[in-house]
Symmetry: C2
Subunit: 216 residues, 2 copies
DNA sequence: TTAATAAGTTAGATTGGTCTAACAAATTAT
DNA sequence: ATAATTTGTTAGACCAATCTAACTTATTAA
């Protein structure tokens, strides 16, 4: 069985994987806030356990086993978030840190029960897909709001970041998933957007924020 | 903040405390299945943090701080068990091991939400009292069934052991909390009891089992 | 009351996960 | 093409939690 620490490395590897599935040691180090030598030594350990493919001075790739292990943890994380919101009544901004802890619980029945109570949901409260029990992910591809053009009418489908601060900001703006958004203008210099949604007056969102809003 | 390991020592110390609040290093070692030298060194560490009173070659006692920390963990454990049974629909025999993991979650709001959803319960699914948020325990004193006499009519209030095997055994016997039990006879040699409850025919329970059944 | 046994401690090793300092390879810029 | 910068590795230390072996203190039995 993998330790809690190993699980966090696997999760980070999965979420940092680019198209080729490659991840630089440096990126992993930054994501986990763990110094590079520590990451290097953990990569050796995970390679030993055949969870990653690793050759020195080369980027790392999850093996099939590693990918399976990673999606399994992500499944537990996202089911937990959904449960916290739907069953326990938490706000979507409160659940990330709690789920971060509960995802490491070793008890298949516990997560299967959640899944059953929730009716086998496909998405978590932040719009991220929940892997099924075999690790398959319903791969929706969303665009960043920041990549859309003036005049586009889109629908808010997911957030690219579940931090409490960002979600609280969206709460104050009255912006939630499934909301339809119209882009009124885009500032060419810094990408700031003026948008409207619901029955709201036009409002201005920075590029940093628009990068984290995923739409169709 | 205390580590998960420290929390397990505190919990064990609390549950092993005798009338004087004293616990032998040896008993702790057996309970936690950790060798005595390790326990000794952890006692030094906890004494350093003023969670226990410890002098070498003497039994250990929890300090007031230590007691508070211990009851706080026990509160989280028992709330979790109650939540798993009442909200998620688990059987009382399934919840101990899951709660053992979730009790270490650091998130006051999470446990307060459970408490609220459950309507501030005073007892867990095994009849053990749930400490309130200040660590106060509603101290019911129950007798062991094994200490009762022939002819006594008693009520099953709690179990002294929450292991899956023992509770599964009670399930097969159709014996649950609040059931009224009548003692038909006691074997003087080994303490085996013949009892009846509900609309059941008389049945025979060993002393080992009767020791773990708490009644009024 | 002394010998035997049980309980507790000390010393030193081990493992997992982390770090810093120093060095090596790869990438980028000049 | 070479120098500068960034990225990655090696070596060695540290801390928490564990262990075994050897020793000491306390308790129990003869």
């Amino acid at each position: 069985m993998n330790s809690l620490v190993e699980e966090n490395y696997l999760k980070a590897l999965f979420s940092l994987s680019n198209e080729d599935g490659e991840v630089n040691v440096n990126d992993l180090s930054k994501r986990l806030e763990i110094k590079m030598p520590t990451v290097t030594s953990m990569m050796k350990k995970l390679a030993e356990k055949e969870l990653v493919h690793y050759e020195k001075y080369r980027p790392v790739r999850l093996s099939e086993m590693g990918k399976k292990a990673a999606t399994h943890i992500i499944r537990k994380h996202r089911l937990t978030e959904m449960f916290l919101v739907e069953v326990m009544g938490f706000g979507w901004e409160e659940v990330h840190d709690i789920a971060e802890q509960i995802e490491h619980v070793k008890s298949p029945v516990f997560f299967n029960k959640m899944d059953e109570i929730l009716g086998h949901p496909s998405f978590d409260p932040h719009g991220s897909p929940i892997p099924d029990i075999n690790g398959n992910i319903r791969g929706e591809q969303y665009r960043k709001l920041s990549e859309c053009k003036k005049g586009n009418k889109v629908k808010f489908m997911a957030v690219a970041n579940s931090s409490e601060n960002f979600l609280k900001f969206l709460n104050t703006k009255g912006l939630s998933l499934e909301t339809k958004i119209e882009i009124l203008s885009v500032e060419p210099f810094d990408g700031t957007m003026t948008i409207t949604y619901g029955d709201r007056p036009p409002d201005v969102f920075s590029k940093v924020v628009c990068d984290k809003i995923l739409v169709v």
